[in-house]
Symmetry: C2
Subunit: 379 residues, 2 copies
């Protein structure tokens, strides 16, 4: 065999889980080579029928997040069911003894209980609020500030994100925490009790990116900028046939190219001089974005999307045409991207599904389809 | 010493990097115990002065993403500078030999070149587009579909997200990929060449969450739902004093509590019967969200934010008041959350900064402040 094992080959992970963050963590570990078993109550957890669904009511959501896993169901309120899950988690073997769950607070699968059965157990508990109270992506996000600076400047309200970004980030953090704990256990024999609140995930990123530092240091938080990128030059433009393009000029070269492309060099130079600005500085490009937007807009409004596309293609400017999910699929981009492979998913159909976005030595890691619920329950 | 080492203690990582994804990966590895050195050109990379900045023009952004790292600067266009960086990357030691970069395409620090110097080197390259072309979070997001279903339903345009979600997710994936590759190298001696495009990060998550599966299986992509959560019951309400609350009723119990709280049991029962719906099913709660929103709205409009807060506090309903970043900081939440600790950051000031959101055995991992640019350059 010339291909090395996947990086997390040999690990056996038990996932007692639902919704997004925890199943995504399990899926990611599975893509990296771990053997992951999702445990559900008989009939499935609260997410088993979750939308989106097919015309027949099968959950695209559930199958998407549980690809490549085994599925065990048990009556988790019975002693037998609990003993079964404990046995699965603490079974002997260097790679087993790992629990991933978003259902903390059950004493029969607490770190205390499990570490008494297997001292080197690794338990990763994904929580909601920082204090362990229930919380979901949308409530965490509402309490943190982002919806107040998202969306049109004149709306006077709040705009929720659509991507459950905190769930996704939290899930990948959980996979990372388990991977790092495994590395330490293999070196020292020590287990780990990892706790990871969704709210702390969001607070940590908001802190690292400066959103929570600005009020402390500058006395006020960031304000909304609509579709303009904060701190550099970037915005969206509408073309003569109603297409929309996102444009980002991150470097002086990008900006110079954008100015030339749109044929407004004289006007931009004059404005730069009159305002005492220096457009080689991204701060100045950001500060004067409204003037710049107004200078660039007419060129986009005069040209079709195809013309804009062709001109941008020849320049260094970072740009992308706004596309719908339908257009992404119709474009054929998935078929030509080695990140995608055909997946035959029972109950759902055959379609192109993505593997792990990180390729190892050029290889994209895929898992098989999601299991039938309970398909691997010991008999 | 009773505290076990941090999980990635002993690793030495060289980061040739800028912007968000790659520095965030380095920061995260540093939080987990790795010794991370960021290498920059003399004077700093393109992100060295990036906004947000303090009143004195010091970058809150740069310091936030480079906490706890060493800083080496070198003339990366000179042979001497390149040789220095190669030596740093390939220096002997079980934990060294790891490069994290978003600047692929330089032959002197390619995986080919470095693995000739140290066969077990781990190189993680963060790319932009799937094909390696330049791309940033905002352009990737525009091309993928999310902005078309974000924001008010009547706006007729596109809404960019504010959080650079793909950068963040990509950065945590990169940290995970390196951690997993280290685990494999410690077991087998094999290095790794990891490539991770920002665009593939976004495509993979969009695929896993079903956004790219729906057009393939159901024939059409998801449509916008404004501030309503897709597939279950959740939306925002305005109170009598202009406060806003995000409400999510994920389970039948949450929903029952919301109905009782707002005093519209009779109306909800009548509507349920008349529409042939079953509001114990989240799909039905989602399908009939407009009617439900209209039934609940008056209660919120009649009560102050304090009254709404108190009533929600007593119920199981998942809820959060929308807050600005200023309000988050002013609330005192950071000071009471062990995720935060005071950081004395030269050039910026003293403030509460978050550590790693995952706690190991109850311990939150923090790093020190960001270095002065070039402070650790070998002399």
């Amino acid at each position: 065999m010339t291909t090395p094992d996947k990086p997390l080959a040999g690990l056996r992970i038990i996932e007692v889980s639902s919704f997004i963050a925890s199943p995504l963590a399990g899926l990611t570990l599975s893509q990296l080579g771990a053997d992951v078993t999702r445990v559900d109550p008989i009939g499935g957890a609260a997410d088993v029928h979750r939308w989106p669904v097919t015309a027949d009511g099968e959950s695209i959501y559930w199958t998407g997040l549980n690809k490549g896993k085994r599925s065990v169901t048990a009556d988790l309120r019975s002693e037998d069911g609990q003993a079964l899950v404990q046995r699965l988690i603490t079974e002997p073997g260097a790679g087993s003894g790992i629990l991933l769950t978003n259902q903390a607070g059950r004493s029969w699968m607490s770190h205390d209980t499990l570490s008494a059965l297997r001292p080197d157990v690794i338990v990763c508990e994904i929580l909601g609020g920082s204090d362990g109270s229930p919380a979901v992506d949308y409530t965490v996000n509402a309490g943190l500030g982002f919806p107040m600076i998202t969306g049109p400047l004149d709306q006077g309200g709040v705009t929720n994100h659509v991507l459950p970004a905190w769930d996704v980030v939290c899930g990948i953090y959980a996979a990372l925490a388990i991977s790092a704990a495994v590395r330490r256990r293999e070196a020292t024999g020590a287990g780990a009790h990892i706790t990871l609140p969704l709210e702390d995930t969001a607070l940590s990123i908001a802190s690292t990116l400066g959103y929570l530092t600005e009020p402390q240091i500058n006395g006020h938080g960031r304000e909304g900028t609509g579709n303009n990128v904060y701190g550099t030059y970037g915005t969206d433009f509408v073309t003569s046939d109603g297409g929309r393009f996102m444009i980002v000029a991150l470097t002086p070269r990008h900006f110079r190219d954008l100015v030339e492309l749109t044929g407004v060099s004289d006007a931009v130079d004059a404005v730069e001089k009159a305002l005492g600005a220096d457009f080689t500085r991204e701060a100045d490009r950001f500060t004067h974005r409204s003037v710049l937007n107004a200078l660039f807009e007419p060129w986009f409004a005069r040209h079709t999307s195809a013309e804009v596309d062709a001109a941008l293609e020849r320049s260094s400017v970072l740009s992308e045409r706004y596309r719908s999910f339908d257009e992404v699929v119709a474009s054929g981009r998935l078929a030509t991207n080695p990140l995608f492979a055909e997946l035959v998913q029972p109950r759902i159909g055959t379609f192109l599904a993505a593997g792990l976005p990180a390729a190892f030595d050029g290889e994209h890691y895929f898992t098989g389809p999601a299991p039938d619920l309970g398909a691997h329950t010991p008999t």
